[in-house]
């Protein structure tokens, strides 16, 4: 028997959803089947993109490391570097906190760190999915607007934190 402690916390949510499905099944099996069909359709829709995202993640992991990033940020044109590195960086945001803390201690401006974090919202690997749902024009405009406003955000954060 699997103990609850052995189940990764990230699965708790899925387990709760499975329990909800069971309850719905008991109340109305037709609705549960309808929901499963709708779920299957969504999975079919996102599966090819999932594979694509994996390939792109592998590609960016190969070329970009946190150490490289630290070196680039301390050079000239920091804003541009913060935008580019923010876009190409991968992984969960909290993975970057220790490194950003180091950068802060090394005297990297708070504005650059804020700009870097804001641009983590733009992920090349995610673009196909945004295009799929919202169209190419939307994706291009959103990406450009976010990249530009990230500098404004960085500037504002710098003014407030000073």
């Amino acid at each position: 028997m699997i103990k609850l402690k052995e189940v990764r916390k990230s699965w708790y949510f899925t387990i709760v959803v499975a329990i909800i499905y069971l309850i719905v099944w008991v109340i109305d099996s037709g609705k549960a089947l309808e929901s499963l069909q709708a779920t299957l359709n969504i999975f079919i829709k996102i599966l090819p993109i999932f594979v694509f995202v994996f390939l792109l993640l592998t590609f960016t992991n190969y070329f970009i490391t946190p150490k490289k990033l630290a070196g680039w940020l301390n050079k000239k044109h920091g804003w541009l570097i913060a935008i580019i590195t923010g876009i190409i960086s991968t992984g969960p945001i909290y993975m970057w906190y220790p490194m950003l803390q180091d950068l802060q201690k090394q005297g990297v401006r708070n504005g650059l760190i804020a700009t870097f974090l804001y641009n983590r919202a733009i992920k090349p690997a995610h673009l196909p999915l945004i295009i799929l749902y919202f169209g190419l024009a939307f994706t291009i405009v959103l990406t450009i607007v976010m990249a530009i406003l990230s500098v404004v955000q960085g500037w504002l954060v710098e003014k407030i934190v000073k």
């Binding site: 609705k31 969504i42 592998t58 190969y62 995610h126 024009a137």
Partner: protein, 140 residues
């Protein structure tokens, strides 16, 4: 050496994707359930079709957490349900730029003043980005 680096890149990507899988599976199943159980009109009760929709989108996006991919899927479903593009844009931008759940960790690592300022500005900017993006799209 080169092979090891490639293996590490694949492993890191695989680990990143795998970490996302539990939440993604749950979310997709939940959306499937919501699609058949919740009438389309229910969404219009959250998103009222008023000028407050971007604000509601930004609040929702700030509270909810997970992979950005999840936000696109939910956003896509919102779009299909007839929610305004400005509200959805604010939702997906806030999802990826504001971290209410990760705020304690951010404060611990990067400082209280910095983290609160960054998240507060990101919250407001989600609405501004949404308005500008949709505004530009309407001009095209």
């Amino acid at each position: 050496m080169q092979n090891l680096k490639i293996k590490q890149a694949i492993f890191k990507a695989g680990k990143g994707m795998w970490n996302m899988v539990p939440m993604l599976i749950g979310i997709v199943f939940l959306i499937g359930l919501a699609n058949s159980l919740i009438p389309k009109s229910a969404y219009s009760k959250v998103f009222t079709g008023s000028i407050f929709d971007p604000l509601i989108g930004s609040i929702l996006g700030s509270i909810l957490a997970g992979s950005p991919i999840t936000s696109y899927i939910i956003g896509g479903e919102f779009l299909a349900q007839g929610v305004s593009l400005i509200a959805i844009t604010a939702f997906i931008v806030a999802w990826v730029t504001v971290g209410v759940i990760t705020l304690p960790a951010e404060i611990m690592m990067l400082g209280k003043r910095f983290s609160i300022a960054r998240n507060a500005i990101s919250f407001v900017f989600a609405i501004i980005v949404a308005i500008i993006t949709v505004g530009v799209l309407n001009l095209l």
